[in-house]
Structure formats: structure tokens, C-alpha cells
Symmetry: C3
């Protein structure tokens, strides 16, 4: 089936690696050449591909983004859902809601330093939902 759900448990702001889960979903389809699209069903968490080697990259990225889009900015009028809510919506607008990654030889063609992350922008724990669409050829050479 080409459309599946990938639930992700989160425990507050930060990056949650879904690379292995996505690779496993591609593998299970048996598709060797094609396209995998991830879509996150939220407006306060987003998707990003970032370096998977030095955790300091993600640490700095989180701090930089929090400085660019701080809580309690006097500009905000949408404040009833918590001080982290409006910043989360802005961060989503600046990052990705969908990502499409080609499949070759049965695997996502991620670069060697690329990881796929759910980027949680809210401070509380919870569960997020990514919908994954996979299409392509099981026998591309035939």
C-alpha cells in the first residue's frame, strides 16, 4: 500500500530521527526505484533534513531558531494556547511540511551525512503523525 502512517512520540522541542523508520517502510514495499514523500499533519512541528553526525549542529540550529523566533514577542496576538504556540507556527512556516526523497536500489537516496528529522517546536511531550507515501517500481529493469 502506498500510503502509511508513521507515528512519532516526542518529549518536547528538538529533533527526532525518522530516517531508519522511513528506510524500513521503503524496504517493506519492495520498491527498487521510486519516490517517498513524508508529510507531517501538524502546524507546530515540521520536517527537516540535517546533518546526522555532530549533534552540536542540531543543538546550534535549535538555539538559533529560538533566538530568531522567541516566545513572548509583543507582536503576538495569538497567545491563548501557550507562549510556545505562536513561535511554533512561525517556525513551521520557515521549514518544511512535506519532503520528497527518491528511491534507488530499494533505499532512500540520502546523502551520507543526511538524516530525516521531525522537528518538534512545542515544549510538551506528545505524539505526532507523519503520513508516508511511497510509489515506484518493484522491477524497474524488466
Amino acid at each position: 500500500m502506498p500510503v502509511k502512517s508513521l507515528p512519532v512520540k516526542v518529549s518536547g522541542q528538538g529533533f527526532y530521527d525518522v530516517s531508519q523508520a522511513a528506510q524500513a517502510m521503503v524496504h517493506d514495499t519492495g520498491i527498487l526505484e521510486g519516490l517517498c514523500t513524508l508529510f507531517i499533519q501538524h502546524t507546530s512541528a515540521s520536517l527537516v533534513i540535517q546533518e546526522n553526525a555532530d549533534p552540536a549542529v542540531r543543538h546550534d540550529l535549535q538555539r538559533w531558531m529560538n533566538r530568531l523566533v522567541p516566545e513572548n514577542d509583543r507582536l503576538y496576538t495569538h497567545t491563548t494556547e501557550g507562549s510556545d504556540d505562536m513561535p511554533a507556527h512561525i517556525k513551521c512556516a520557515l521549514t518544511a511540511t512535506s519532503l520528497s526523497i527518491p528511491i534507488l536500489n530499494g533505499r532512500l537516496v540520502l546523502g551520507i551525512w543526511q538524516g530525516i528529522y521531525l522537528w518538534e517546536h512545542r515544549v510538551h511531550a506528545g505524539q505526532r503523525s507523519i503520513i508516508v507515501h511511497i510509489a515506484g517500481d518493484v522491477n524497474p529493469a524488466l
Copy 2:
């Protein structure tokens, strides 16, 4: 036919909801499982998925973006097309030109609070063009 045009009339800066139009285009194809891609043919208007409930979210998002990317910044050298033009190009680089959304049970799998918006970055009225590609299976279970 998988590729169709979705024209959108705009009346200046702001968010124009195209969720219902996109859902209707998906419905018309009869496709039950698949992928819908929206592509905007402009470099001064973009696409964004945002909260569809409280209009204050979009109001704050617009004001925040206008503060981040103001008109009449002395950095700009591209000024002949109006003071709103170069900010519009920058805003496009920071947001999305294409969005891909899976289709399940004949509908886009939007989260309950997600709306698809054309985000107009210029101040004048006009018409914008989104191209919609829809692919998938009419009878996925067969």
C-alpha cells in the same frame, strides 16, 4: 488528467485558502490513494500549510514576516519593481514553492487544523497560478 491549473485571485498581501479547491480536484480524479503536488508559478507568492482555526495565527505570521523582511531595507539594490518586490522574493525563498500531500480514501490527508494557503507577498491585486499534479490509484484494493 493528472496536471491541472488552479488560478487564485488575490487582493494584496495575505493568505488565500485553497484547501477546498484542492480537495475538489482530488475528488474529481476518482483517485483513492496517491499523491497531490501543488506548485506555484511565481517568485513573489508562495505556498504554506498553516493553522486554519484562529485567524490571529495568520495575522501574527504576516506581521512577523513583514518585520523580518521589511520594505526599503538599505541592503536592497533590486528596487525598480516597487518596494514590496525584493521582500517578496526573500519571503518566497524562506517558504515553499511546492507542497506534496498524500491522498487516502479519496481525500488529502490534511491534519484537522491544517489549511493549504497561497501566501501573497505583494501588495497589489492580481491573479496567481498554482499547478496541481495528482497521481495514484482509483482502485487501490484491487
Copy 3:
């Protein structure tokens, strides 16, 4: 074959037009209606669709982005790979890693002022890799 590699030589920060290369890859498939997805295999270079007319637009965009995400920000802890590395990762998070463009009449449906660019964020010369996935119908009317 739907998945191909598009190598791009770069000579430092800036925009590298891949529109013609992508159009040629679409043409070579013989596909008349479909979808072309570009995916960049890096976390310090990204993809962007921008105005292809006045080069001042890209010049201003580069300068604006360098001001928003400067080198040697005291916030950065990831500094061992060069002063341009952490800014490059942040710029990637703010721009696109994948772009999907519909194909109609055998061509990408780019707007008249739209060019597809690889946006190099690092200062040194090198080679970057974009993976291109193309799917669709050779004979859509049959």
C-alpha cells in the same frame, strides 16, 4: 529510468542555475505529463526557485541571508568545520532540500520568471549532487 543523478560544479557561495539541465532530463524521458522531483544530497547547500531575470534579485537575496545568518555568531558551538559551516546548515533548514515540479506537454511548468537554482552556502569550490526523479505518462491522451 526515473531516477538520475545531476552533478553540479560549484565555486563558492551563490546560485547555480539547473533549469536547463532539469528540462533536458525531462525531455529525454519522453514523458509528456507527470512530476519531476529534485532532491539535493547535502546539508550545506539547498534548492530554491527564484527570479531568473534581474541578477540583482539573487545578489540581494544572498546578502540578506548572509546578514540573517552571519558567520562567527557567538551562539555557535559547532565550529570545527569552518566559520561558514554552521551558517550553511541553518540556511539549509530555512530553504528547500526537495522541490517537485509538474510536467505538462513534455516540459516543467515553470513560470516565465522562474529558474531552479542550487544554492551553495559554503565558500569553497566543489561538486554537489542532485538526484532527479521523473514519473509520468509518455502517452497521456491514449
